[in-house]
């Protein structure tokens, strides 16, 4: 049998389409427990590659022959070795091209909808890490919001659809992933906007993003309205795009809300978070479609792979928006928080421009899920 190669695009399609896949993850147990490829109909077997050096006889019986089988490791090498051993034993299997490293860096563009006057809004789903970035396109121009460090993907995309990036925004100073905003602004000549309260320590020039700022993309009436919404960070800012979409950053997610502890003490910002979610957002139209900067679990994906839901639905169903008692809310967002994202302090320093890690270090820093939410 020959060994097949499956890339992250193909695996993403299987996640979106809820297909079946049997994943043999050959990383060590701790890495597997911490972070793996999530799919609604995926099955898993975790056996570290270093326990298979003498042969795969012991696991052959556990691998189905009526399902597609994908062998996964950190960077590809070990999965190739194990896949070849399984192949020699008569099985047809694939390995994941580039391993979890490639999975973490894969972005899948999904069109969310049309805007007034022919514009469009796209969501870039970083499926392996749960990060979501956005591109608003209108009349030959584009704005990019919460870009990842995989800047080539956006630059190739705008070349393909023939538009120019004129504005780049970060909703807040990110702690879970390295922003590509500054790099893209430098490469394209676009304006880079940051909330000043999150940017007090940055080492580069930026355009301060204030509550009430309106930015026009293209020559149409599509506008991006900034709404100060602190809580996850002190500067966190949401955007209302075309009076139709609410880009909520790390404040409100589909099935959870933002955690207030990644840039300081949770106790300091819990009041801001409460006010944003229970007052500022309550004043917005419930017809707005919420587009968050993250998803945590695969169940938050819609059938087309997008992560989007009406604000009205979230007011009804999101547990974090339905805690009447302030003390209970305070307890929920300050106690029993999930572990903090890997290297979050170093990531913040990088996003401030204070440290400049190389690409391998950046990858290492971003390993694992995003963990920006509390549920």
């Amino acid at each position: 049998m020959t060994v097949k190669i499956m890339d992250s695009t193909e695996v993403t399609k299987k996640v979106f389409d809820k297909e079946e896949l049997f994943i043999l993850d050959v990383r060590n147990e701790n890495d597997f427990k911490d972070w793996k490829i999530e799919g609604g109909n995926f099955q898993y077997l975790n056996v570290p590659y270093f326990e298979l050096l003498d042969g795969v006889e012991e696991i052959i019986g556990k691998i189905p022959t009526d399902k597609e089988v994908l062998v996964v490791c950190a960077k590809e090498g070990s999965s190739v070795m194990v896949a070849e051993m399984l192949s020699e034993a008569g099985l047809t299997v694939s390995y994941l091209k580039g391993g979890m490293k490639a999975w973490s860096e894969h972005l899948e563009p999904v069109k969310i909808g049309d805007l007034n006057d022919g514009g469009e809004i796209y969501q870039f789903v970083r499926i392996g890490k749960g990060c979501l970035s956005y591109m608003v396109v209108s009349n030959g121009e584009a704005a990019l919001i919460d870009a990842t460090r995989m800047t080539d993907i956006y630059l190739n995309f705008i070349e393909k659809i023939g538009v120019k990036i004129t504005h780049v925004f970060d909703t807040h100073l990110h702690a879970d992933h390295i922003s590509g905003g500054r790099t893209i602004a430098e490469k394209t000549g676009a304006t880079y906007w940051l909330p000043p309260k999150d940017a007090t320590e940055v080492t580069f020039d930026y355009q301060p993003l204030e509550d009430g700022n309106d930015v026009t993309i293209g020559n149409t009436i599509i506008n991006i309205h900034a709404l100060y919404s602190p809580g996850h960070t002190i500067g966190s800012t949401s955007f209302v795009v075309d009076e139709k979409f609410l880009l909520s950053g790390d404040i409100l997610f589909i099935d959870s809300i933002g955690r207030p502890d990644l840039a300081g003490k949770a106790e300091d910002w819990v009041g801001d978070l409460r006010e944003t979610l229970y007052k500022r957002y309550r004043e917005l139209s419930e017809e707005l479609i919420v587009l968050p900067a993250h998803f945590m679990i695969i169940d938050e994906l819609n059938d087309d792979g997008s992560v989007a839901e009406k604000l009205r639905t979230l007011f009804a169903k999101n547990h974090g928006l339905n805690i009447d008692d302030e003390n209970e809310f305070r307890k929920m967002v300050t106690e029993n928080l999930p572990p903090q994202p890997n290297a979050y302090q170093e990531i913040r320093q990088t996003n401030m421009g204070k440290i400049n890690p190389d690409i391998d270090q950046q990858r290492e820093m971003e390993i694992g899920p995003n963990r920006c939410a509390v549920r």
Binding site: N30, Y49, F50, E51, L53, A74, K75, G77, S78, D360
Partner: protein, 88 residues
């Protein structure tokens, strides 16, 4: 030879029996070679491994444990990870 090769934890004496240079090799080769090198040692002898594969730390730790070997010490120097494993 540096001091660290002879002292572990301040009081346990150990001596490296063999040094394995796995620098520049990608996963799974550092562990494949470690396994082979350990196989050539007697129980109680110590293998010193040099690698530049960042993932080796967690993997060697887990591998040593599952194989009944003891990871005595590890350190990092100029991007090179060094491990001392006592054969069990």
């Amino acid at each position: 030879m540096r001091f660290v090769n002879y002292k572990v934890g301040g009081n346990i004496e150990m001596e490296t029996t063999k040094v394995l240079d796995a620098k520049g090799l990608a996963c799974p080769m550092p562990i494949v070679k470690t396994k082979k090198a350990i196989g050539e040692l007697e129980p109680g002898q110590v293998l010193e491994i040099h690698t530049t594969d960042k993932g080796a730390k967690n993997d060697l730790t887990a591998w040593a444990k599952s194989g009944g070997h003891e990871l005595l010490k590890h350190e990092e120097e100029n991007g090179v990870l060094k491990f001392w494993i006592k054969k069990g």
